[in-house]
């Protein structure tokens, strides 16, 4: 019998060299400046593109192989989910609010990131960078598609999933995530990498995906656990690309430091504001909670972010400017934002609710210094109003921050009883901000942010302030998609179907 002889394989480093860097060539009839017009546009100095190397040394052939395996695993589970009434196995239909926000605000962000990385891959001059950006562009497209596909089964049974694309373009709270991605995509390629690759992927993505997936696992949502894990398996590579990118910029030339630091300051704060939506999900929206927003921040913000910035200190990088204000906001932000979502629930394509006494006890245990003092009394008051048949609804429109586009609902970093509101007058117009961080971003690039599309002014511009016409325009079905969870069609259906599934009625 012949012995099976293993074919001699290239080692990883040689293979990476052959299948990545050696794919490049020196242009002969056009200059590099003509081919890569944006490389110098932001003032970054790069002397040697070959210094940029993917530490995973992943080549395209291996990429396709592993991605195909991820897709096979993903679809096997999605099929099982659909075939086994997965929509009835969640803890409670309140959980779906977290999914609806994800689909309306985050999945379109994945698609935007795909476009951004496709462009960054074209504009960077190094082959290692181009290949890594190409992989990430394909990853992000896959994430958008698998997320939409995984959640499509819920759309067959529950409200608020049907018009996520209109919601993404037109509804007010989704513009928070949308403006973040649009802002990054309309920046130069290096700033885009800091925005998405470093700040979002490295510093903040753990706070979004890890608790979100654990939340799905805790709440019986197999479809989301699956798309979450499938997407997250790419994130380690994205995070690594983000970190390599920042080290590359800093090692190429000492003059790059102040530019990079300013971007870190800006994009940390922009990302932190987007994560405000995640804080409400963790503290309020999961019927079975994983950990509080504060606990997640301790692990992924304080501990991991702290380690990262100690590591980068050797280049002269300091923690982002807004770091201390972020820390001060952690014990307040989810409560302040959820109170906002509840009072404006006529305008959300998801349900919100008043936390039960049991929920409030949990919040008070997780936020001993703030919840009972500042937020329980407000919820109790709102509960009384609801019991009296006069539920608290705010039919006024929120004033939005010109930078992050969240309603101005947050308080002063050092005084939780005082609303934080900043104003800047620029060319005779007054602009409003939710924080010093957002005001700083605006004042650094006012010409960019005065062009921001803000949903509240758009309502008046396009719909003359007619709320009914606005609901039609954003494809929000009044009385079905919005309002309190208590008494909603989602609640009725879930209880009825679950009853049918667990009895012989």
């Amino acid at each position: 019998m012949d012995m099976k002889v293993e074919k001699k394989k290239l080692n990883l480093k040689d293979k990476y060299k052959l299948l990545t860097r050696d794919l490049g060539w020196e242009p002969s009839y056009r200059s590099k400046d003509e081919i890569y017009p944006y490389v110098k546009y932001e003032g970054l100095k790069v002397h040697d593109w070959d210094k940029w190397e993917d530490p995973f040394r992943l080549t395209m052939d291996a990429y396709w192989k592993y991605q195909a395996e991820k897709e096979r695993k993903f679809y096997a589970i999605i099929d099982a989910h659909t075939q086994n009434n997965g929509h009835l196995n969640i803890t409670d239909a309140r959980y779906l609010t977290a999914l609806k926000i994800f689909l309306q605000a985050i999945s379109p962000g994945e698609y935007a990131a795909h476009k951004g990385f496709a462009r960054a891959g074209r504009e960077f001059a190094g082959v290692g960078t181009q290949v890594a950006c190409q992989m990430q562009a394909i990853d992000e497209l896959r994430h958008a598609q698998t997320q939409i596909h995984a959640m499509s089964n819920y759309n067959r049974y529950y409200n608020g999933f049907h018009a996520f694309a209109d919601a993404r373009d037109r509804i007010w709270y989704t513009s928070v995530a949308r403006s973040f991605f649009d802002d990054s995509m309309s920046a130069g390629p290096f700033e885009f990498m800091i925005a998405i690759g470093f700040s979002f992927e490295y510093v903040l993505t753990n706070l979004l995906f890890v608790p979100f997936m654990s939340g799905a696992a805790y709440n019986g949502d197999m479809a989301t656990v699956t798309f979450g894990f499938s997407a997250q398996s790419d994130e380690a590579r994205h995070m690594t690309l983000g970190l390599e990118c920042i080290k590359f910029m800093l090692e190429q030339d000492p003059d790059n430091l102040p530019i990079v630091q300013a971007w870190i300051d800006k994009w940390f704060w922009r990302g932190f504001r987007v994560l405000g939506l995640v804080s409400t999900m963790m503290d309020y929206m999961l019927p079975k909670r994983v950990m509080s927003w504060r606990e997640a921040w301790e692990i992924y913000g304080v501990e991991n972010g702290g380690a990262l910035f100690r590591d980068l200190a050797r280049y002269g990088i300091r923690p982002p400017k807004g770091w201390d204000d972020a820390e001060k906001a952690i014990d307040h932000m989810s409560h302040q934002l959820m109170l906002g979502l509840y009072q404006w629930s006529f305008g959300t394509a998801f349900h919100s609710w008043i936390p039960s006494d049991e929920d409030m006890d949990w919040l008070s245990a997780k936020y001993p210094a703030t919840f009972d003092k500042h937020y329980r009394p407000r919820w109790n008051h709102i509960k009384k109003l609801a019991a009296a048949g006069t539920p608290y609804k705010n039919f006024g429109l929120a004033k939005l921050c010109q930078c992050c586009q969240l309603p101005i609902v947050f308080t002063e970093p050092d005084d939780p009883t005082m609303l934080c509101n900043r104003e800047t007058t620029y060319k005779g117009e007054k602009y409003h901000f939710c924080s010093d961080g957002c005001q700083d971003v605006f004042e650094h690039e006012p010409e960019k942010y005065i062009q921001a599309w803000l949903p509240m002014p758009a309502l008046f511009q396009d719909q003359q302030g007619d709320i009914g016409a606005w609901m039609d325009w954003v494809s929000l079905k009044d009385g079905t998609d919005n309002g309190d969870y208590a008494g909603s069609e989602d609640q009725r259906n879930f209880q009825q179907w679950r009853g049918l599934a667990t009895s012989n009625q």
Partner: protein, 89 residues
């Protein structure tokens, strides 16, 4: 001291990989959470192909980790034999 970590999906494929990581990193702390396992270690974590192969009983390409990886932290360095996570601080 800074903590590096790696998180893997909790499934049949990763069980022997996690065992191997524990063997190679005596200072590592393994946190078993719903659907995932997070492994923390002070400053450095080393994942070795050979130890995984011994635990798994078959040949293993370290890049297969990509399939079940959830997240990690620290500077990454990977070659045919090892994947290292490290903070320089």
């Amino acid at each position: 001291m800074s903590t590096v970590f790696i998180a893997l999906q909790a499934n049949e494929e990763t069980r022997p990989i996690i065992d191997a990581i524990e063997l190679d990193n005596p200072r590592a702390v393994v946190h078993r959470q719903p659907a995932m396992v997070k492994i923390d270690a002070p400053d450095e974590l080393v994942i070795r192909k050979q130890t995984i192969e011994e635990q798994l009983g078959r040949a293993f390409d370290l890049q297969e980790l990509q399939i079940n990886l959830i997240t990690l932290s620290g500077n990454v360095d990977e070659d045919d034999e090892t994947l290292t996570l490290r903070w320089n601080s």
